[in-house]
Symmetry: C2
Subunit: 457 residues, 2 copies
Amino acid sequence: MEKLLQIEEYLEANKETFESQLIELLKIPSVSADSSFKTSMLEAANWIMHCFEAMKIPAELIPTEGHPIVLAEYHRDDSLPTVLVYGHYDVQPADPLDLWISKPFEPTVRDGNLYARGATDDKGQMFTHLASSQAWMNTVGELPCNIKYLIEGEEEIGSAHLEDFIEAHRERLKADVVVISDTCQLGPDQPAITVGLRGISYFEIFLQGPKQDLHSGSFGGAVTNPVNTLTQLLSSIINKEGQVQIPGFYDAVESLTEEEREQFSGLPFDEENFKEQVGVDGLSGEKGFTTNERRWARPSFDINGVTGGYAGEGAKTVLPAKANAKFSFRLVPKQDPKQIAIDLEKYLRDQLPPGIKMEFKAMHGSPGVVVPQTNPYLQAAVTAIEQGFGKTPYFIREGGSIPVVTTFYESLGLNTLLLGWGLNDDNTHSPNEKFHLADFHRGIRSSAYLWQAIREI
Amino acid sequence: MEKLLQIEEYLEANKETFESQLIELLKIPSVSADSSFKTSMLEAANWIMHCFEAMKIPAELIPTEGHPIVLAEYHRDDSLPTVLVYGHYDVQPADPLDLWISKPFEPTVRDGNLYARGATDDKGQMFTHLASSQAWMNTVGELPCNIKYLIEGEEEIGSAHLEDFIEAHRERLKADVVVISDTCQLGPDQPAITVGLRGISYFEIFLQGPKQDLHSGSFGGAVTNPVNTLTQLLSSIINKEGQVQIPGFYDAVESLTEEEREQFSGLPFDEENFKEQVGVDGLSGEKGFTTNERRWARPSFDINGVTGGYAGEGAKTVLPAKANAKFSFRLVPKQDPKQIAIDLEKYLRDQLPPGIKMEFKAMHGSPGVVVPQTNPYLQAAVTAIEQGFGKTPYFIREGGSIPVVTTFYESLGLNTLLLGWGLNDDNTHSPNEKFHLADFHRGIRSSAYLWQAIREI
């Protein structure tokens, strides 16, 4: 107990230090999707390396065919439990830049929130588990259990090289439990442990019509317009009742159980408040399901970007030569991204009209996952969060995807704790991403208690 | 006849001069759609003014609420017929710039073609009628009939202010026949007189979903995605058989007569060659119609541009806040653009799902027109083209729109001669727009003979 008092004092005294450290990391534009940021990716990885060096935890920068992985290993005693912390130092692209109030890579505090790309997803949340270990090392001089850190740089682009890395380092990554903070609380002051994630399957298609843009007067009606075709193909994927139309898409989808539906509907959730937060006056989605069921436990289809033809000011009467779309499905457990890619490509090719060629690109994919609520480490997490937040956490799900969770859970058989310190309105993947600083510090405190609680299991 | 010999000699001797003059005009980036080119618009109008001054034809630069109009008036004798030449000095936007082999506003000759934005549409074609008058003035010292020139700067953006201008200057614009060169030949060495044009109705819609971009994992399936909605709305406009689905759209469309279908099918037209020229291996369009019927005499629907969501490299899992599309219909005679705008807006609004707001913008519109083939000036044009091209012209239609033709024909009751010197593969409205220089000079010669032929009617 004395140790924990020391740590409480350290955390209180070092709030500004932690904030300054996070700000340093957030200044590095580590956008994994865009190859022009490659140098910044390395800079961010090295920043994390230095962080481990400063607390004397051995760490290694391991190259992959993509962006490097940081692997740090604190080993104290074989008899103690071993925690594997997973996080990522890469961030989503920051555009549209003009919608940011302060610049995405110039972290700025307003109203108790720290605004920057990556503030909560995932630099800020990931860093809470480094800060908590700093507190232990700089006071007690040791951590209460063995801790490994696996911090990757490709989460936002589908963790393309991580699965192979994990397979190749099974022994070295051996652990009792995985801790990941890359999710959200249920709401402000409603801390939560996430017990299920959706998977994802991301695609891009490129349509080519005439060899170059044509005059829509002279050729319109006789030459197939690839943008017309694009809208036909994309709109054919989902019907007006929110049901995906690709044959076989729902074959592996399991119905929600009565128990699951009750757990969802038992959570405090204010739909009016949700709409206001999002800024819409109405919601839509798959017929027959509630909002939380739709975003947490049912597959969905979203077009993430379209381009084609004239995008400038005014009118241009052009029949465009090309059209392009990026789109993705969110998946639930047992849906297989590889099979969906095959079925989707066939479904689209069968519809192609004369005069249009399609390039089909399956980008990243990972299945959804639901972890059993019998995980023995869940109680340790509940205790730690009660200490950190002063509230008992809810058990929720999350609509996003953390591909590696499936790998940890299904390939390595590891128990998984998804402890989210973020908020739904933190604008992850959007302009003005933020992290509520109070949650940042509560997260650090929860993490510091978690190491102790896991030891005491 | 001696006069015409003098003119033949002058035209032969001044080929390079005419080309240099046209190149000067093509260097001016007079893009009417983009307000950043406003200064260039004025520069182009003034270039034309100087051209008239040099041949001592009185001309006036008349401001409008948009871009100015050049009106030149050569009056010789009330007893002679009066020709009104119409043309435009504005051009389409030049993008996508990366597809131009030489820069759009740095005119370049390759293989007997002059490449530049506006080369054929319409600076090059319009200038043939100035060059022919130069020839008459500099040899004979006078023109064989009265000629007025109306050269506007808003054709590519729907001639928004021209109709009011014409109404306000009915007396001043009084003429016996209008001559316009802003169309194409049937094919290389197949000169043509165009006797029908399609109309146009151009729209832009802006969809707004959530107040800002959202994470497609956390929100996808529960919050309406405006890009999904955009594809649903646009694809609902036309079915897979190429039929527009807006209620009432075909009400005013007259069936093609047997005579018209025979006239079309009697023209030399090689569909394989057409496909090769366009660069496609198949064509599609409204069921039950031939390629030329589809592009000349049936309405059509083309999306001219779409934007929404992430357009950068790689994947971004975003549920976009906004989506936008520019699209247009080509119309046939008696279809009313204003009524179509009303019907279309209702059709789209009725389909809007919850959580999506739509801004609907009707841009420019003009009905289609078919001129009677009993026009007494047609024979004069046939004679002139036979002199200029050494071939008898075909009577064809054109799928594009020249809004002012309807105004001249229906409001002023003027006979109209659409004498096109361009080719279908001149890439008007596309990268690498060109004008075949031999056609440029044949056009000038035809124009010089036309003034004489009209006088002799």
